[in-house]
Symmetry: C2
Subunit: 439 residues, 2 copies
């Protein structure tokens, strides 16, 4: 794939940093603070017919996690959102509750949906006004409604929707039309085409004051509940509220087909692969190798920080990194690899994304792949360690290279080491853990 | 990712079998024969602003090939299409000519585009009526216009468009609207939403009789050339032709954003990975191992055919397979791996897609990874062979497993062998060629 220019369809930060953790974004959270209560309704009752999958698409998994968990995470990390109601079909309630527990989502309630999209959303809105036992609770000022299958919505856009909804009663995301819209005759011929510039596609999220969305649903007809899909239309028809329309970014796209799951996975993988942290164990030789790796991986678009260990100030890498490269020269350091894996486990680092650990080892001299008495013991040891780590969502691989006095040969080895390491980080392939690859 | 049910967005056969080669499709080509001349215009002058890529998206590559070559291939394999005109910006002419040569595309002419989409299409249509030197040639009865960035169009749909265009003068693909379409006020508020069921999205391909499309362009205004985008509209306005609209499959989607390139790549990779061919070299022991592999890979959705060699009738695998597994037990067979690679090279098999060759080897006894005197020579030999093969778009990997008397251990090894082999086939990672992986 070509080098990117602008990445128009990717989020700057696709929910990688749950609130409470250090965030690397330069974004000023003060600018986005909201001084009124905002809650979210996520209708997730769809059957996923269009994906061609047996599992409804919001429950399809990539990188070991269902799509809906990525969407929940996008809201969870926004500090000014007070609660999130996920509305699911009756048969998915248990699955959804398991997902919330397994990925430790907070501020979530799971509510049972109705027979249509509008009925489900109304159930979700009503739940916001009730306690768990049906008792009234503090109602939100604004309700944001979003699709469970649009995982890349960002805080700044949610802020725009929430504040516009408070001011105008309703607000919704729009996007330019991607195709010409045409009207057909009853016989299936072209009647006329619409002037593209005058129309927009209505997307999600949308925001409403609690009063507007409640009144709209209380007043609307059975036919609206049965056949309608557009909340903005109900607000206009039953409350006289003309929604404020806000042009959204391409990141608002909706996972509809199976190919979209591959696209979503590629976006997450790419975001996880932008940087890595090389740990030298304080060895000067390892630091030289790490510097060579840094330069070569930089050319492959992976930014590498080189640190001696994760002590003191460097402990922050443990909380922000998704990729760790343990570098060793001559002296074996499987115990250090084991320590890195343990530290990641202790920090619960791989809860939301698989974390990659690559052990890069430079053998002391030209010669056999595996020198000395460790020849057969080492591959088995790294495989065992990797198999155990994989159960914790930590993916461990080994890359081995050999010192060469010949400059050309050495350069090729370093390049191959960087390429292999980059591809292990990018592809995060569980089937290849524990392999000791040759650079 | 979940197990698929219907694969609604994937082509049954995404152009994997250029015409002239054996096709595995059960489709009856007789049903689709067209008895009038049909040609194609592919406007490919876009700048790809929306992808966020520096390279226009039709020239972005995946699996070593630019997107436009996949689209050309989709038309090239249709026997009743007489010629394809690709219209490109002046600065892309050389690049496009190189692509046509490199991938040995036939029946193609590269034509220079105009300053807008309509001007480019008109240039393409005019070129169909002229010889290379401007002399008149046999004009097509029907012209199909398609986007260079919709690579998954299939023959049966092209047939529908071509025959409807001949009958009605014009025909176009439509799809249901994915979002509600709304009209906005000048101040950016909701004015009204359209009734979704009454409208459709106009997609590609479209077909026109040569006379209708020529007349439409000859009569239309400068303003149409400058600002218009919809050919069906011109046919209606200037020729009074109401196009026949035909509901198209989801495979007609358009590569618009960078994420769509990942989606397209995933579709091609999945299609290439559905089956593989295991070659046992006639060894009974290898056949037993291949049978175990067949069963385990079947559970991973890779259909495996086991053959002794590619002689006689089995030579057909050389012409239809994308994945080859050379199986050996105890006795090394690098020479057989080399022969398979050479046969693939001689057949020009990897011209359009990278072909995977996995050498699966079972060591004779529990013990060191690499027994006997070959311990260090073998990894180097396979790496050298793989490096050379990679230059020919053939990706060679090794997987090694060890015999075990312990049933549990053996089963785990076989499962890992199948998982590793499947993932090598699915991911087609150039960076990992030449590795000898341990199952």
């Amino acid at each position: 794939m070509q080098k990117e220019n602008g990445d128009a369809d990717r989020p700057a930060d696709p929910g990688l940093f749950p609130s409470g953790e250090a965030r690397m974004s330069s974004h000023d959270p003060g600018k986005c603070s909201v001084d009124f209560p905002v809650s979210v309704v996520l209708p997730a009752g769809g059957t996923g017919e269009r994906t061609g999958l047996q599992t409804p698409k919001q429950f399809c998994t990539f990188l070991n996690r269902p799509l809906i968990s990525y969407t929940i995470q996008a809201f969870e990390r926004v500090s000014w959102i007070q609660s999130i109601v996920v509305v699911v079909a009756k048969e998915s309630t248990e699955l959804m509750t398991d997902i919330v527990q397994r990925f430790q989502h907070k501020r979530i309630r799971v509510v049972q949906g109705g027979s249509t999209r509008h009925r489900s959303i109304f159930n979700g809105v009503r739940a916001l006004g009730e306690g768990g036992d049906g008792a009234p609770r503090v109602k939100p000022k604004v309700v944001i409604i979003h699709d469970a299958v649009r995982p890349f919505v960002e805080e700044d856009f949610l802020y725009k929707i929430a504040t516009a909804a408070k001011e105008h009663g309703a607000a919704g995301a729009i996007r330019p039309l991607v195709s010409t819209v045409i009207a057909t005759t009853a016989e299936g011929y072209l009647d006329h085409s619409l002037e593209r510039a005058r129309y927009r596609a209505s997307e999600m999220p949308q925001g409403f004051t609690y009063d507007v969305i409640c009144r709209a649903y209380e007043r609307c007809s059975e036919s609206d509940f049965e056949f309608g899909t557009e909340c903005l239309h109900l607000a206009l028809q039953y409350c006289g509220t003309n929604a404020k329309l806000i042009e959204g970014p391409p990141t608002l796209w909706k996972v509809t087909y199976k190919r979209d799951l591959a696209a979503a996975e590629s976006i997450i993988k790419e975001t996880l692969s932008r940087s890595a942290c090389a740990i030298t164990g304080g060895s000067a030789q390892a630091a030289v190798l790490a510097d060579a790796l840094q330069k070569t991986m930089g050319a492959l678009d992976v930014e590498l920080d080189v640190i001696p260990d994760m002590m003191g100030d460097n402990a922050r890498y443990l909380l922000k990194g998704w990729n760790f490269i343990q570098v060793s020269v001559s002296r074996r350091c499987l115990s250090e690899v084991r320590a890195t894996v343990s530290a990641l486990e202790a920090a619960n680092r791989a809860l939301l994304y698989p974390v990659v650990v690559v052990w890069v080892h430079l053998n002391g001299s030209d010669g056999p792949s595996l020198g000395g008495g460790t020849a057969t013991a080492e591959p088995a040891a790294i495989m065992d360690l990797a198999s155990a780590a994989k159960l914790r969502n930590i993916l461990l691989y080994g890359v081995q290279l050999h010192r060469s006095e010949e400059a050309d040969h050495w350069e090729r080895s370093v390049l191959r080491m960087a390429e292999i390491t980059s591809v292990l980080i990018r592809e995060r392939s569980p089937a290849l853990v524990g392999q000791l690859l040759q650079a």
